[in-house]
Symmetry: C2
Subunit: 389 residues, 2 copies
């Protein structure tokens, strides 16, 4: 096991009606907040009204900034920073899914930084987040895990780049309210994409060269199994509160960092997918459903035994031959994604090979990506090609 | 799944040399601390010198209070409260195992309370901890999980009562430093007792009547397996850093609350054991090794299927008949404790039946204990009797 530091500072309030305590929780930090959200769905569902009521009852003033879109845009982040600075706002309340929360994190850290917020993304490693306004969230989609993680992904609409940033604990939300009922009106496609995203967050941590990590191996495999079981129930019947609740909690645990403690993590599939959704504006989870199996096929020879362990412990594959077992595990991964109604090829997503070279070069950034296997741009191009059909 | 609130606010610093950062971490909270520890072992090992050096380099003043014993005493807690009040101390640094950390929590909360600190224990439910001085820990024994939990157990030497308190997040340490190397010089008996204690912390959460808890079931079963695997390695060779590291991290996760999220917890075995170690001053883990199997035998009929699931998923028992499977799981639990070199009967611990009635009455406190099965004093007496030989 490797050394690590873990600070899971986010207070989780989980269950029916959790969001009704939002005013009381916000009040502990601020009396003037930015209320950040996406489109009209929180207004249609009545969630917006409940949040506003709770804030008003607690005597918390707020300024609104809606309009966050999937693959959230830098332009709106800059606008949010400007509103906070001019309005003396010192808390960001994000009501939505991963995109809204990521946008809130970028605003919260951007407000505290003298330069342009895009520096955190473009000059990552050189310019890093060191402080941020406190953030609270009311989660409406189980997927990104952003509600308890410090990470954020923003798309720069000026140059089409979709980049990630944030390893600093100041961008972990100070509280997150998780009411599974809020996810019960989501379209099945979004539930499926969310399940693949959380599954992929564990893939990025599970496939490691670090040895002697049985505590986290056991937890990763357990959460993999719980996601499979509950995602299938959830897309079958989104009104199944218990399945939606288990899925919601699994999504948070998958990405809050506990499953990666003491292990070198990978993150190639995410980088490779980000280039896809930057150009084609597809859902992140939909892209991952094609990329993750292709990445697995390309890298499994690095540690066939680990892939055989994955097949055995996650998909209950009984197969003596490790090579065969490893391949069965990859097949089962693809089958699971398909069983949720998702495409697992780029062709299925109506994406051709015309941008493969460009995306492969953009994905590597400086040198290589990934740790399980370090990938160069030519490797990435092969992975896109493996994902094609 | 039930609704829950979880605030894992403790920053974990894990790995070789972790304790060398103690001055720097303490300095964020305080410039004058109580350095709280047990006997001479931290002086013999050189840990005391390293801690003192780090505090001095950071310019942190400290007052010392050593002498914490296993089953930590109320008298020393009261003395610590007095020292803090008179000395203007506003931070408690605990260097040791669960006893030292629990003693530190009692001091930290007692300082902030107008009445007598024993109220938190004797009048639990009526008088509750609401605030506490911040606590930091350097852990030297993997066992109690007190390094990330709010709970504490104190023994009142005036009346022989051993009681628990603390459900408030203010008694969760603000940081805990976990260096597995510090545990590599422990006697095998202590390592074994620690492993049983952490195993029992999961038993208390795993056996529940709450349904649809697959995420936490999976995590509980995974950490059970990881404890079994690594505890056996650890008692075989305490110099096995990797086993000691996995065991240390498992012990923290077992009791920080994440494994109990959304589930009703039980805690009977702990209450029943506390009466034993209050009278006989045995190690808590040694008592649990006899009590947990006896408790299981007494209650398993409440949910034979859950016990069969436990047997299958924790001990890999393949057995169609659920009754037989459940019993095999209990047998395997006992075998595991024995394989660590521990006694699993009270007779083996040289404890007879003379105090059973008294302990049974004291254990129930007001009415009943436990949630999986609510136990009255007559039930508890039967459990002591089942544990006898």
């Amino acid at each position: 096991m490797e050394s690590f530091t873990l600070h899971l500072l986010t207070k989780i309030i989980f269950g029916r009606g959790a969001e009704e305590r939002v005013g009381e929780e916000v009040k502990k930090y601020s009396e003037k907040v930015l209320l950040h959200y996406g489109g009209g769905s929180i207004k249609k569902s009545g969630l917006y009204d409940r949040v506003v009521k709770s804030l008003r009852e607690a005597g918390v003033e707020f300024v609104e900034l809606g309009g966050v879109v999937p693959n959230p845009r830098l332009g709106l982040v800059r606008k949010g920073i400007d509103i906070c600075r001019k309005g003396g706002i010192d808390f960001i309340l994000a009501v939505g899914g991963g995109s809204v929360i990521d946008s809130a994190k970028a605003i919260a850290s951007g407000v505290m930084y003298d330069g342009d917020v895009w520096d955190f993304f473009e000059k990552r490693g050189t310019v890093n987040v060191e402080k941020a306004l406190p953030i609270g969230t009311i989660l409406t989609i189980s997927a990104a895990g952003s509600e308890m993680s410090p990470n954020m992904v923003i798309t720069n609409e000026e140059n089409g780049r979709k980049l990630s940033a944030g390893k600093h604990d100041s961008t972990r939300p100070v509280f997150s309210m998780l009411n599974p009922e809020l996810t019960m009106t989501l379209p099945k496609f979004q539930i499926a994409c969310g399940a693949v995203d959380m599954f992929a967050h564990i893939v990025e941590r599970y496939f490691t060269n670090t040895e002697n990590v049985s505590v986290t191996d056991e937890m990763c495999e357990g959460i993999f199994r719980a996601i499979i079981k509950n995602a299938i129930k959830a897309v079958t019947d989104p009104k199944d509160y218990e399945a939606m609740a288990d899925l919601m909690w699994a999504g948070t645990i998958a990405h809050n960092g506990i499953l990666g403690t003491g292990r070198e993590e990978d993150w190639s599939s995410h980088y490779i997918e980000h280039e896809l959704s930057a150009i084609y504006d597809i859902a992140h989870g939909a892209g991952l459903a094609a990329i993750v199996p292709a990445w697995m096929k390309y890298v499994y020879k690095q540690d066939v035994k680990r892939f055989a362990q994955y097949a055995r412990n996650v998909f209950h594959i009984i197969e003596q031959d490790v090579e065969k077992a490893a391949n069965r595990g990859i097949e089962e991964t693809e089958k699971f994604f398909k069983s949720l109604g998702l495409e697992t090829t780029l062709e299925g997503l109506k994406i051709g090979d015309e941008d493969f070279k460009k995306m492969s070069q953009l994905a590597v950034k400086s040198n290589t990506i990934g740790n399980f296997v370090k990938l160069k741009s030519e490797d990435i191009e092969k992975i896109y090609r493996l994902a094609l059909k």
